[in-house]
Symmetry: C2
Subunit: 426 residues, 2 copies
């Protein structure tokens, strides 16, 4: 491991040097043959499979160190790599290799009465800086998607996963170099020094877009400090609302899945809202399923009255992403109150309504302001793969595009190519 | 005129109050009947026509005051309103009224193997803050486009045009109120106090997007200070490159139009690049046309050798948006050198190549990184109206979408609406 835990001038020089290399790599990638990028991704997948033993060993060191510190169970779970997870990472790179290359595509084309021919053509974003937390597989997913979209990427992963991420970075770079592309297309910041993030956020001349993935404090820090446009991936404070029109058996299945399928993913439901009109009939069986699955319930007074096992929820529970087997539960006065709660406390990620009544579904789907709104389905579908995008970096929760799952296509921009034959403007 | 030139706590309270009103208006507009927005725009146009005398008087006061100060000829020209300009403003609002309403449109829709139905649906951006310089017609254009796209807007115009803009604001608000929509959909910051901009840039809870239109120092200040996503509209440092494959007669017509049709618009060419291979034959007639039209030429040594009237260009000329009858001219070593010059010194706005040789056109159109690249046409076509968008706020020069002309459609975002029938994720 290179030691960049040094004085700040040296750190700044090292980070800027990474930016210069990334900019050069982006210039090459922007015009690279799609087949070469595909080849690089396939070779990177093979490198990941070949490095399995090395990666497991590095990950074991990361996990051992994390266990010494006060890392939460959920974060430890995100950090740990199994043989299956490594194979999934390799398969993910192959899936990205198989995606259609998005660059150069004509998104629209039309002619003007004066004969000008106007095309909107997809181009890469350029150099992307990704700032994320503990999950090491993001290193492979993000690196692969950026490469498919012709972008160079500077990755700043979680400190806990640095050893694992460095092995993954080496695999990606080996694949890229073997395909004849500049290996600086993927660079991992090789230090745990937090000052590296501040330096990245000021390099507007060398980084085109910053993608932060994480909790509120990370996103807020990035939005406050960044001189570079940000595609924010905020935590998933997802809600499921059980409306008076909900089918009880369906609601039981969906709520259990939305909360408990995997509790550590951003699409996991963190707050359950239940229409007062059906609280007495629907809430007890739904909560019984959750208790049976080992989920802790924190409810408002009405929930507690219906569920003696529920502890009392505070206002903080409405804004907490547990990433754990804990659910906040609130009884609300119909769909309007549910919409208000979600728009006020949510993270604009993913929210679902369960109902067979279109009079409730329509306003919910229209007025909940989140990137993804679902009707009669589990919030755990918030995932680029489930949307058919092949893979994703995450779910963008900002107001500007790209919103929702960010895959290769969403990591692009466009320009206008206008062809004339001598036109002057009157 | 309300005097907000007061102490900073009072100013902050006033600006935040505008934000609160805008947020409420945006919530109403997001779900307003398209016909009502159309009605508001038509009524606003009628109000502008009805206020012609009042607007001319207010504008005369603005111009008189600006003449006292050191405002440049180009800026004075942008500030002055004629009867024709007022009619154009009203007609512009009617053109925006006639545009298809972009909100609620399904941008894409597909089904997944598990039966989930996924739609990407267009929604407004929310509350937009626009910070611009002297041109008062931006008040009408921006207000109209934001309304069409279902956004509320807070306008911070140039100090010089405050009287004119206030009359225009009143016309827009009267039209909006008469159509039964919240008049806070359009609000003009009623103070020349520059601290108002800093306050806007920090109101991330009340403003969703900032659109700065202006020179480098404004854009850089906004990008440095803003906690809110920015759609930057940088100055137009546009280039026309005359390649060895250019038809001389066509090049003469296009260059003259690109520079001199209107010198004060962002699409005016500011730097002419000429291929060394044809400099001796093409440059003298092109420059003779420009001299005859009253254009000053600032050239590099080779240009000066071919044109005794040219003064010497310095490095500063390559980065100056004259907005005046002045042209910087440089002889370059073919298309590769032209691309390098443009990517290094340009503002990523609009750049043209004049050539009949596809071997020059293809790399230019692919590798010049600007929002608009043109082949054999005048850079003055850089305009939303000329692109068929009906109207525009300006040309976005950032790397992320929206790039190029920003019309009503570009002032929107989207969300995913996913419809299921009980799906849980395996």
């Amino acid at each position: 491991m290179t030691a960049l835990d040094v004085n700040s001038a040296e750190l700044e020089a090292e980070i800027r040097a990474m930016g210069v290399l990334a900019r050069h790599a982006a210039d090459v990638l922007a015009h690279a043959d799609p087949a070469r990028k595909t080849d690089a991704l396939r070779r990177a997948a093979a490198e990941v499979r070949g490095a399995r033993a090395e990666l497991l060993a590095a990950n074991a060191e990361d996990v051992a160190e994390a266990e010494q510190s006060a890392l939460s169970h959920a974060l430890l779970d995100r950090l740990r790599l199994s043989e299956g997870a490594i194979e999934a990472m390799a398969a993910g790179l192959e899936a990205v290799a198989a995606l259609p290359d998005p660059i150069g595509t004509e998104l629209a084309r039309w002619s003007r009465p004066n004969g000008l021919d106007i095309a909107r053509v997809r181009i890469p974003l350029g150099v992307i800086g990704i700032i994320y937390e503990s999950r090491p597989n993001v290193t492979a997913d993000a690196g692969g998607l950026c490469l498919r979209a012709g972008n160079a990427v500077i990755l700043r992963g979680g400190s806990e996963s640095l050893r694992s991420s460095r092995v993954i970075e080496a695999c990606l770079r080996a694949g890229i170099a073997a395909a004849g592309l500049p290996e600086a297309a993927v660079q991992l910041v090789p230090t745990r020094n937090r000052a590296a993030v501040a330096l990245m956020l000021r390099m507007a001349d060398l980084i085109d877009v910053i993608v932060p993935r994480g909790g509120r404090s990370l996103i807020e820090r990035v939005q406050r400090e960044s001189r570079i446009p940000v595609i924010a991936h905020l935590e998933g404070l997802c809600h499921t609302y059980v409306d008076r029109g909900a089918d009880l058996e369906q609601a039981r299945r969906i709520v259990l899945n939305a909360k408990m399928r995997r509790t550590g993913v951003c699409g996991a439901t963190e707050t359950l809202l239940v229409d007062r009109a059906v609280a007495a009939t629907h809430l007890p069986p739904i909560l019984a399923d959750l208790h049976a699955a080992g989920c802790e319930i924190r409810g408002d007074a009405e929930t507690q009255a219906l569920d003696p096992l529920a502890s009392a929820a505070t206002d903080e529970d409405w804004t907490t992403e547990y990433l754990d087997a804990i659910l906040a539960v609130r009884v609300v006065d119909g769909v309007e109150a549910a919409i208000d709660h979600i728009n006020r406390y949510g993270s604009h990620h993913t929210d679902a309504i369960l109902t067979d009544d279109e009079r409730s579904a329509a306003p919910f789907l229209e007025r909940v302001e989140s990137a993804i709104v679902l009707h009669n389905a589990s919030t755990q579908f918030a995932d680029g793969g489930e949307f058919g995008m092949g893979a994703e970096i995450g779910i963008s929760t900002g107001r500007l595009p790209p919103r929702g799952p960010v895959g290769a296509e969403q990591l692009t921009s466009y320009k206008y190519v206008v062809r004339g034959n001598g036109q002057t403007r009157p």
